[in-house]
Amino acid sequence: MTEPVTTGTQVPTGTANKVFPPLDPTTLAPQLVWLTITFVALYFLLKKIAIPRIGGVIEERQNRIQRDIDAAEKLKDEVDTAMKAYEKSLADARSNATAIARTNHDKLTAETDRERAAVEAATNKKLADAEARIAETKQKALASVGEIASEIAGPVIKQLTGKDVSADEVKRALNPGAGE
């Protein structure tokens, strides 16, 4: 891109063979020298001063945030521990209460059982005694039934047949196996 390209719309300035300024080779050396100087200067200014400063602030902020998060996490852990301890003591208290209730219950049950057993034993004994007495009375009564029968049999036979039967005969007749 040299002069002919750009002359279409501009007023001739007198320097007819002027090159397109951004491509002018005569400006190469001075621009390169100063580009080197300024670029290297900016590089070291940024690297040594600006970047550590801005980066430091950003890093410090991140550290601060991290510290706060860490502190929050530590507090949360403490809360968790306290919560666990509380839950554990609650569970302990609950199981203690259950144990106490059970022992009391067991003791009372045992006492009741013992008393009931004693009462039952006494009652059973009385019952057995009563039963023995009844059996004895019954035995006696049954034994008397035979005597009464033989006593009544003689007169009954005398009335019916007119025969006088001795008591022994009646007895033998009523109790066939007894005489032998």
Binding site: T6, T9, Q10, V11, T13, F20, P21, P22, L23, D24, T27, L28, A29, P30, Q31, L32, V33, W34, L35, I37, T38, F39, A41, L42, Y43, L45, L46, K47, I49, A50, I51, R53, I54, G55, G56, V57, I58, E60, R61, R64
Partner: protein, 248 residues
């Protein structure tokens, strides 16, 4: 009509020679110095409070820092952070010079092909040096993509080599052409306003049209100024990533 190319002329302010090299202090050099002072000064001014809760200025400085740091981390990973000062310098240098160039009457350093070419070549040389220093001859794997059938490999490698060596060209021309074209367009449209007003009559009534165009293009150029700084930096990151991981 004012010459739209005039604004790119490098004017010699005072002659200087260093070791026989022409080191004349030009308006280009002046604005490079201005750019360095501005970018460094603003970063330092913005971060002067070093407060935990940043104010508006400090937020801007931190955003620029985090923006470039994010770019470096995303493209190169955590090990790329040792190039962060260099990448950040590229970004701040180009962004500041692009923005300074937006001030009417100020010289746009990044519209000089020698400047953008030098920056792109610097990236190119750094990539080659870092690539060989890190990987030895393994850096040449960059030209041998994996999973390519052997019979097309020579062709693919040739294309890779050509694309590698054309990087500094596209890298520098992109920034240069964008800045150049934008500033020429602005100047041409601004020239239309004067021409229409000068013509008088019905033509003068049309003068607001190019004025509106200049407004729109100015906004667009601010976007381009930022975008080209970003693109240049992003490409630098990607090229450096090739130097670090040539196998990918």
């Amino acid at each position: 009509m004012p010459d739209p190319i005039h604004q790119f002329e490098v004017k010699r302010l005072f002659p200087l020679e260093i070791f026989g090299v022409d080191a004349t202090f030009t308006n280009s050099a002046l604005f490079m110095v201005v750019g360095v002072i501005l970018s460094f000064g603003l970063l330092m001014y913005a971060s002067r409070g070093r407060s935990l809760v940043p104010n508006r200025m400090q937020s801007i400085a931190e955003s620029l820092y985090e923006f470039v740091a994010g770019m470096v981390r995303d493209s190169m990973g955590e090990q790329g952070m040792k190039f962060f000062p260099l990448i950040f310098t590229f970004f701040m240098f180009i962004l500041t010079l692009n923005m300074v160039g937006m001030v009417p009457g100020f010289f746009t350093v990044t519209s000089q092909i020698w400047v953008t070419a030098a920056l792109a070549l610097l990236v190119f040389v750094i990539v080659i040096v870092v690539g060989f220093a890190k990987n030895g001859l393994g850096f040449l794997r960059l030209f041998v993509p994996e999973g390519v059938p052997i019979y097309v490999l020579p062709l693919v490698s040739l294309i890779e080599v050509i694309s590698f060596f054309s990087r500094p060209l596209s890298h520098s021309l992109r920034l240069f052409a964008n800045m150049l074209a934008g500033h020429i367009t602005l100047k041409v449209f601004a020239g239309f306003i004067i021409m229409l007003l000068g013509a008088g009559g019905a033509a003068s009534a049309l003068a607001p049209l190019p004025l509106l165009a200049v407004l729109g293009i100015t906004a667009l150029e601010f976007l381009v100024a930022f975008l080209q700084a970003y693109v240049f930096t992003m490409l630098t990151c990607m090229y450096l990533n090739d130097a670090l991981h040539p196998g990918h």
